[in-house]
């Protein structure tokens, strides 16, 4: 055993140059990404208000979350609905658009890539929707609907629980053509054309068969990477909710786990409880990524 350790130490010494290269990045990564995950998991078993020392309370936070916090249960439901729509639909839109522009001439492809990517490109551009769906009759959508007699009085789009969820989902989809899309374009362009020629000889009849048997299996690594990007993006929808519906949204109708975390961590300063929420969010995100990767590895089989 000690022999092994001394051998490892020797190895580390021999490779110290490599460690110097990775050190600046890995130290920061450890301090601001890895360590915080561990701290968050530890804090989730405590009661902690920042001012006093954390007190260990076992799994009480989790019990409270699942048994006594109606809003959290609703938030899980909302998150689930939003993520299940935004993730896969956004992902398929990316794939579909990338696939369709792939055969266009270069100039058109470049222009369309810019147009499709622009909403994801410019950060908080979804603020525009605050004007389009403004509350009063000057709001673009309200004015149009009133003009054509569809509604009589303006709708409070981001305060009315009926409209909040569909609007947020629509806006999130609008911004979802991001890194995933770029990755798919690259994946499609990297498929060698002899594969298609061979497939045509082998009796592939139409472009749907071609997509399933040739294209998708050839770009599986990009499909995997795109899934990770899309899932992370889909769970980030809470920031759009806060920006447009405020925190908390009316009747918590668009409240997600992310917003619940913001509420307890950033507003109420119940850090132990908020850490339990963060830990659950962490587990859900990692879990759904692993699950989707299993599904994608079956593509084309």
């Amino acid at each position: 055993m000690s022999d092994k350790i001394s051998k490892l130490l020797h190895e580390i010494k021999r490779n110290r140059k490599s460690y110097l290269f990775v050190a600046p990045y890995m130290i920061l990564f450890f301090c601001f990404t890895a360590l915080p995950v561990i701290i968050s998991i530890c804090l989730s078993f405590t009661s902690f208000n920042v001012l006093e020392k954390p007190v260990f309370i076992g799994i009480e936070n989790y019990v409270r979350l699942f048994l006594a916090d109606r809003i959290f249960i609703d938030a899980i439901g909302n998150t689930f609905i939003m993520a299940v729509i935004i993730g896969p639909v956004g992902y398929l839109i990316c794939l579909f658009l990338a696939w369709m522009i792939n055969e266009l001439p270069r100039l058109w492809r470049t222009v369309l890539t810019l147009i499709f990517y622009a909403p994801a490109l410019s950060g908080n551009v979804y603020f525009i929707f605050q004007y389009i769906f403004n509350n009063d009759s000057q709001g673009y959508m309200n004015a149009l609907l009133i003009r054509y007699g569809i509604i009589q009085s303006p709708i409070l789009w981001f305060e009315n629980p009926t409209y909040m969820m569909p609007l947020i989902i629509g806006i999130a989809l609008w911004t979802s053509v991001g890194t995933t899309f770029l990755s798919f374009i690259a994946g499609l362009q990297g498929i060698p054309s002899h594969l298609y020629e061979a497939a045509a000889i082998d009796g592939i009849k139409n472009r749907w068969q071609e997509l399933w048997y040739v294209t998708l299996p050839s770009m599986k690594p990009q499909l995997m990477f795109g899934a990770v990007m899309s899932i992370t993006g889909a769970f980030g929808v809470g920031s759009i909710v806060t920006a447009l519906c405020k925190l908390p949204s009316t009747n918590y109708a668009a409240h997600t786990i992310f917003n619940h975390l913001e509420d307890y961590g950033g507003v109420r300063f119940e850090m132990g409880y908020a850490s339990a929420i963060a830990t659950i969010l962490f587990l859900i995100m990692i879990g759904s990524n692993k699950l989707i990767q299993k599904v994608i590895s079956k593509v084309g089989e």
Binding site: S18, Y19, F21, V22, Y25, L28, F29, C31, F32, T33, A34, L35, V37, I39, S40, L43, E103, L112, L114, I115, F116, Y117, A118, L121, G123, N124, F127, I128, Y131, Q138, Y140, A143, R147, W174, T179, S183, I185, A186, Q189, P192, L195, Y196, E197, A199, I204, N206, E210, K220, P221, Q222, M224, F225, V228, T232, F235, M271, A278, T279, F282, I286
Partner: protein, 291 residues
């Protein structure tokens, strides 16, 4: 030498029918319109004179374009408690320093992970890949505590330094180096007596220009769009995007100025993307993940 990926149009395998082609163009056109409309709306609003905002029903396009909104924006903001120039400085400073640090530190790390062999490298890279799978919201509370301990609350550091270690950048750079930097060239330089830091900076880095342009693009995109941060409370350290959300609360009278600010904010990442698009696509070609 460097492998060049083929980005040409592929030859067709199976026959396409014209009807499907037309259908595809139609759907693309439709999607393009939906995606572009809100952006067109923002651009139009930014050059709309105030009275046109009160037309009923409101119009999408502008009749008498004006630059007044942009002037208003600067006048409005120069009279405010914190001058607008200060918000712009904050955003530019955070973006520039954060991006420069990220590209250098992540490239160094990616270089060693891609071209060296040392104990623990797979574990370290595995951790970075895992971190792609959850958002920064998960770590926001511990980070708040860490920044408080370090005295980084109300300091640029709390935004800039964590941005150095963004995991997407490291991932893309490492994948690109794996495929695009041949080992024998590095080995030849080492035999000639080149120091490792020289091999990295003068030989490997020039070969992966598409990758660092991509890192610049993604880093700028993230930092430039940065809104309010829970780590920054001092008004004079906040960013343009935060100021923008304040202007938007001013209602319809401020709609022009807000749209002007929005267009200014959109301009920078869009411009960078236009110039780096082909490099980004080239980088993404190696972005694939193994299961």
């Amino acid at each position: 030498m460097k492998k060049k990926i083929k980005l040409s149009r592929r030859t067709r395998g199976v026959k396409r029918s014209y009807i499907t082609d037309i259908g595809i163009y139609f759907i693309l056109l439709l999607f393009g319109l939906i995606m572009a409309l809100p952006l067109v709306y923002a651009v139009c609003n930014s050059i709309k004179p105030l009275e046109e905002f009160f037309y009923f029903p409101p119009r999408l396009f502008v009749e008498n374009p004006t630059t007044k909104n942009f002037k208003d924006l600067f006048r409005l903001m120069s009279n405010s408690w914190v001058p607008f120039g200060r918000y712009i400085f904050n955003t530019v400073f955070i973006t520039a320093v954060g991006t420069a640090g990220h590209v250098i530190i992540a490239s160094m790390c990616a270089f060693a992970m891609s071209k060296h062999k040392f104990p623990g490298q797979n574990l370290l890279f595995g951790m970075v890949v895992l971190s792609l799978m959850f958002s920064s919201a998960v770590t926001s509370i511990p980070n708040f505590l860490i920044f408080t301990k370090l005295g980084w609350i109300d300091s640029y550091k709390s935004i800039i330094i964590p941005a150095f270690s963004s995991s997407l950048g490291l991932y893309l750079m490492k994948q690109f180096m794996d495929q695009m930097v041949p080992d024998d060239i590095l080995e030849a330089a080492r035999i000639d007596g080149a120091k490792e830091i020289y091999v990295f900076w003068k030989i490997a880095m020039p070969m992966v220009k598409p990758a660092w342009l991509t890192l610049i693009m993604f880093s700028v995109q993230g930092l430039w769009g940065m809104g309010s941060s829970i780590y920054i409370r001092r008004e004079d350290l906040k960013t343009v995007n935060y100021a923008l959300s304040q202007i938007m609360n001013g209602g319809i009278a401020r709609a022009g100025a807000a749209a002007a600010a929005q267009v200014l904010m959109m301009f920078v990442p869009v411009l960078i993307f236009i110039f780096t698009q082909s490099n980004i696509i080239e980088t993404m070609s190696t972005s694939g993940m193994k299961d």
